[in-house]
């Protein structure tokens, strides 16, 4: 049994190491979003809201899909429209797949390019109204 445990531990360590290479939307998330939103999308209370278990609810209410592109961190991200769309789709799938609308259509570069030209100027008010609509 000891050796079974040792083998399992070794396999777990190997799988962690194998997951170490990061590229594509995951790398763009790590370098542009993760500093605040953390690797697991968890909240930092008082500073940063959670993505995990939360972000997928926004596209379910009117204005929510647009909100996710117009928030300053997304609209002003130093990424082009295609990579920003890819990161958004990755974030939704990764952190809140279960809450996404069944008919959700992935963001496209064209849609992101259009929406990010009008970033939100009163983020907290819009966010509060959307959360009220989600919980209604």
């Amino acid at each position: 049994m000891c050796w079974t445990v040792a083998v399992l531990v070794a396999l777990a360590a190997a799988s962690l190491a194998a997951g170490a290479d990061v590229g594509g939307p995951a790398l763009d998330y790590a370098l542009n979003c993760q500093g605040c939103h953390r690797a697991d999308g968890a909240a930092t209370p008082g500073s940063v809201p959670a993505l995990a278990g939360s972000v997928g609810k926004f596209p379910r209410v009117p204005g929510g899909r647009e909100y996710l592109v117009r928030v300053p961190g997304v609209a002003q991200a130093p990424l082009d429209d295609a990579r920003t769309a890819a990161v958004l789709n990755w974030v939704l799938e990764r952190f809140d797949h279960d809450d996404m609308p069944a008919d959700f259509a992935p963001y496209t570069a064209a849609e992101v390019g259009r929406l990010r030209r009008s970033p939100l100027t009163d983020v907290e008010r819009v966010r509060r109204e959307l959360i009220e609509a989600i919980t209604r």
Partner: protein, 180 residues
């Protein structure tokens, strides 16, 4: 006559033989060796370390300051701005005792001079004591102007911590960056 099911008799025999050959203490010893000898982060060392996905590259083969965590020229410090925790009672990836690592941080990449790979580095501030004032280091690789706040290292990054007082900064390896 033993009227028990054959499985019960078999298990009892096997258990007795195992008990005669080994002791609970030897089992615990070997289990402990297996766990401690592994590379899994089993202890709650730091929240940033929870995010780590691989053992960091070996610095032992690096010659000179690029392999010295107390040097500003240490390879992981390519975009750090602050006092190096390795000079302040901590290490390149651990805060000094009495301080708390900020979970909110800023992240960049540095190239390891040994293997040539670009590693994702998280620059976390350690918070809860006044400035360490030893090993000041400012490097700006990949840094953006202050209006890109999430990519600027002039800011103090003690968010989500009990105290906003900055002591020093660590450089934690999160993974290897591959091309998109």
């Amino acid at each position: 006559m033993d009227r028990r099911h054959w499985i019960d008799r078999f298990v009892e025999t096997a258990a007795r033989q195992l008990a005669q050959r080994t002791s609970r203490r030897s089992f615990l010893t070997r289990l402990g060796s297996a766990l401690v000898g592994s590379t899994l982060p089993l202890l709650p060392v730091a929240r940033a370390a929870d995010d780590a996905r691989l053992p960091p590259p070996d610095d032992a083969a690096l010659k000179g300051e690029v392999g010295d965590p107390k040097s500003c020229n240490y390879w992981r410090h390519c975009a750090i701005d602050g006092f190096l925790c390795a000079c302040c009672g901590g290490s390149q990836s651990a805060c000094p005792p009495g301080t708390e690592m900020s979970p909110v941080t800023w992240i960049g990449t540095c190239r390891h001079p040994g293997d040539g790979k670009d590693y994702i580095i998280s620059y976390n501030d350690c918070c809860g004591q006044s400035l360490c004032l030893r090993c000041r280091c400012t490097r700006t690789e990949g840094e953006k102007p202050i209006y890109f706040t999430s990519k600027n290292n002039d800011l103090l990054w003690c968010f989500g911590t009990k105290s906003r007082a900055v002591n020093c900064s660590v450089a934690v390896v999160l993974g290897v960056a591959t091309k998109s």
